[in-house]
């Protein structure tokens, strides 16, 4: 999914009241941080799940480990993540 397709999807979520505008803005802010460090992330974190939440990079071995850690530290923030070198499904 391209960045534009992702943004369109989030806008549709907001339009249909499934996501707030502040959640969308937060998620896109975290994605920008991820995209800015993409080459480093892809070279250093093969087979791990990497995310950004509240401006901080977080790395885990699995998606739930990453989500749980992000929620525990920043319960009101969105996390943008990608599995590096593999897919979740």
């Amino acid at each position: 999914m391209t960045h534009e397709e992702f943004v369109d999807w989030l806008r549709d979520e907001v339009r249909n009241e499934r996501m707030s505008e502040s959640e969308m803005d937060d998620l896109l802010r975290q994605k920008r941080l991820f995209d800015g460090e993409r080459s480093i992330i892809e070279s250093e974190y093969y087979r791990r799940v990497v995310g950004y939440v509240a401006g901080y990079r977080r790395v885990a071995n699995g998606i739930h480990e990453l989500i749980d850690a992000a929620k525990a530290q920043f319960p009101d923030n969105m996390i943008y993540f990608e599995p590096v070198g593999f897919t979740l499904l």
Partner: protein, 141 residues
Amino acid sequence: MVDNLSTPAGNSSDKRPHQAGLAIGTNTWFLTSSMSIEWMVDTGAEIACITQATANNFRLKNTGGSAAATTGGGGILIKSGLTTEFEVIDSSGNCTKVQCTLDVGVKPNNAGSEILGMDQIENAKAIVEWEPKSGKGRLRR
């Protein structure tokens, strides 16, 4: 032994394991609501993932998202507030309904199946047995 996995309803040529279950959550009127789901048990899925149409029936809380998390480069949004229900066979051979409240992925569209991932199977302390030739199998402990 009793089976609780089968080919999808109406398509026995699809050799992937499916099971009838439920998705449970809070609906738009803030009432607890459930809907019937035909789960596809996917040993290649690290997280359960539902279609947009199913997600739209419930009030779910946004946790996060990814533009590149699935095969083919698809995105998912992660949401909490959905309970999955499915059946496992216990060590005595009895069928038991189990529920799981782990966060789920939501697809950007309605393509494909409602996916019961290995996170949910692990959470239920179950194992997957599947015989594609006969189209029968078991989620069991």
